[in-house]
């Protein structure tokens, strides 16, 4: 309560401090431990911070500052706007009118991303508890609240689509299955945050994955959504992106502290590790969306141009700003921009019954012309594979376009090994998977960086079984494609079909 001002005859207004006057004091609620050691309060397995003494962490300072009051105000405004728009759009026929390829974009997104967003709140909460700087714990607390919101909003929006598209249910269902896409996504996010310490997470989740990839991708996706007329998804993604832009900044001060204290090499290792894994995930989810699923008239740039403009130019420049080097596999990464996601797309389309969305071939004459323009030589490489598929469809031999066996999966990224396409594209010398034997078990890899990530810390990854390991080990019965589809949780109605009913091939 304010005191009564006798002279003015009303309550005295206390002068308000500006945020900068009190922010640091209220944020830096550190204390000296007397009953436990600092090592016990911040176990290294969860904190990952003991390379650097306590005083080193005092310089941690987030670039973007916000108070709790401001945070709540912002989030309420965002939620009110986004949910209102959803309510309005939900009563329209907007979803029915969307391009079938775009529907696949959002179905794939909801299944692969909703639960990881929720699980990321556990990662953020771990930083909020085990980050060594009070400032960091404060920022991560907002991050944990952000990710809870993202999990909830991305479960609720597809729930509103259920009467139009029952597979929107995969926003919740996907992570409770052993679908191959989910195995890959789960492996990635377990590595990135669920089974990670606070420091590694700051560098791998917030700096590499969010600053380097998702923050930018969400901007592009929101713009694409508006362009195709999906106002609901556009508003949703925009509201998430603004949160990401804030909490992703935990990485920058963390890497500064590491470098200032002589641990650049460790930071470089963590970033190199997760940059490759982020690239793999993006090639599968965003590569297919941008170059094949998004309707031709709404494509602003190719996936390769997007990565070049946003990831290579903008994010990689930050490597230099911090005195970091580009990852050692940079040349391989650049070469993959021209072929890797095209191979994965052909694979996902061929194995369409194994995914919960309808893959859009994106190989009509006009789309092929666009692909050839963006990826010179596409017609002579991937175009030839599509020619054979198209011939079969024109002859009515649809069965020949379905698979009868599984592809080998990489024991690190859990994505099909597509090295033969790299040879055809002139980017690789050998189609053979890379091999490594650890404690009597042989592991297969799709690439040198995936093998390097595994062999750098084999005890971290060795226990995991790929889909192929499970099939050969008797976990999937019967061991045929029907058994595999059941194992993946896909009923016939849920299995993916060609998005346009093969219109593109006619």
């Amino acid at each position: 309560m304010n005191r009564w001002d006798e002279r003015r005859g009303r309550e005295a207004i206390m002068p308000k401090l500006s945020r900068s006057d009190w922010y640091d004091l209220s944020r830096d609620t550190n204390w000296t431990f007397r009953y436990v050691t600092e090592e016990a309060a911040f176990p290294e397995e969860l904190s990952g911070s003991h390379r650097i003494p306590s005083e080193g962490w005092l310089r941690w300072d987030e670039p973007y500052k916000i108070s709790y009051r401001e945070y709540v105000h912002n989030q309420v405004t965002k939620d009110t706007t986004t949910y209102s728009l959803k309510n309005a759009v939900g009563r329209s026929k907007l979803f029915d009118q969307l391009d079938p390829g775009w529907k696949s974009v959002i179905l794939a997104h909801y299944g692969a991303i909703t639960m990881p967003e929720f699980l990321a709140s556990i990662g953020e909460a771990r930083m909020a508890r085990f980050g060594r700087a009070a400032a960091w714990r404060n920022t991560a607390t907002f991050g944990a609240l952000d990710e809870m919101r993202h999990g909830q909003i991305q479960a609720f929006f597809p729930y509103g689509l259920l009467d139009k598209e029952p597979r929107a249910d995969w926003a919740l269902k996907a992570f409770h299955t052993d679908n191959w896409v989910v195995l890959a996504v789960r492996h990635l996010f377990d590595d990135m945050f669920l089974a990670n310490d606070a420091v590694s997470m700051a560098l791998q989740l917030t700096f590499t994955f969010e600053t380097g990839f998702t923050n930018l991708q969400f901007l592009g996706m929101a713009a694409d959504a508006m362009d195709v007329g999906d106002l609901e998804f556009g508003a949703l993604i925009s509201s998430i992106q603004t949160d990401e832009a804030r909490h992703s900044q935990q990485g920058e001060p963390t890497i500064k502290v590491l470098i200032e204290n002589g641990h650049k090499k460790w930071g470089q290792f963590l970033i190199d590790h997760m940059f490759w894994r982020s690239w793999r995930a993006f090639a599968v989810l965003t590569g297919l969306s941008m170059d094949y699923y998004t309707p031709l008239e709404s494509r602003r740039m190719s996936f390769k141009e997007f990565i070049e403009d946003w990831v290579i130019k903008q994010f990689a420049e930050q490597f230099h700003d911090f005195g970091l080097d580009r990852p050692w596999y940079w040349e391989e990464f650049i070469r993959e921009l021209s072929w890797y996601h095209h191979a994965i797309h052909l694979g996902v389309w061929t194995y369409r019954p194994t995914v919960w969305w309808n893959p859009d071939a994106g190989a009509s004459a006009a789309e092929r012309a666009w692909l050839e323009e963006k990826y010179p030589g596409w017609n002579d490489t991937f175009g030839r594979n599509w020619d054979v598929i198209q011939d079969n469809l024109r002859k009515g031999e649809v069965a020949a376009t379905f698979p009868e066996t599984l592809p080998l999966m990489c024991n690190l990224c859990q994505i099909p090994i597509v090295r033969p396409a790299g040879v055809t594209a002139g980017a690789l010398d050998s189609p053979a998977p890379l091999r490594h034997t650890y404690e009597g078990r042989t592991y297969l890899f799709c690439s040198e960086p995936c093998k390097w990530i595994f062999t750098s810390r084999p005890e971290r990854f060795a226990g995991h079984k790929s889909l192929i390991d499970r099939l050969l080990g008797g976990d999937i019965t019967p061991p045929d494609l029907g058994g595999v589809l059941r194992y993946m949780g896909l009923s016939e109605a849920e299995q993916g079909r060609d998005a346009t009913g093969y219109d593109w091939a006619r």
Partner: protein
């Protein structure tokens, strides 16, 4: 007679596939078992015999793969020999 799972690709295709063969199968049979997943499906059907390469060596058509030293998940590449 024993099941032998191989990692295999057919030249012109995109992916490495799991192909189940028998260790008593000849290289010619193994080549056909790989080709059936690719030739005429994602790569053009060819006219010549199918050859199988293992660790840089083209296996004789009549050689049994068990005797050629192939182990589970060894990689082989098959291709049409159109000479």
């Amino acid at each position: 007679m024993a099941l032998l799972p191989l990692s295999a690709s057919f030249r012109g295709d995109i992916a490495v596939l799991l192909v189940l063969v028998d260790d008593q199968d000849t290289a010619e049979v193994v080549g056909r078992k790989i080709a059936v997943h690719v030739a005429g499906r994602r790569a053009p059907a060819g006219s010549g015999p199918v050859r199988v390469r293992h660790e840089g060596r083209i296996l004789p058509a009549g050689q049994r793969v068990g005797e050629a030293g192939l182990s589970p998940l060894d990689y082989v590449e098959a291709f049409f020999d159109e000479r």
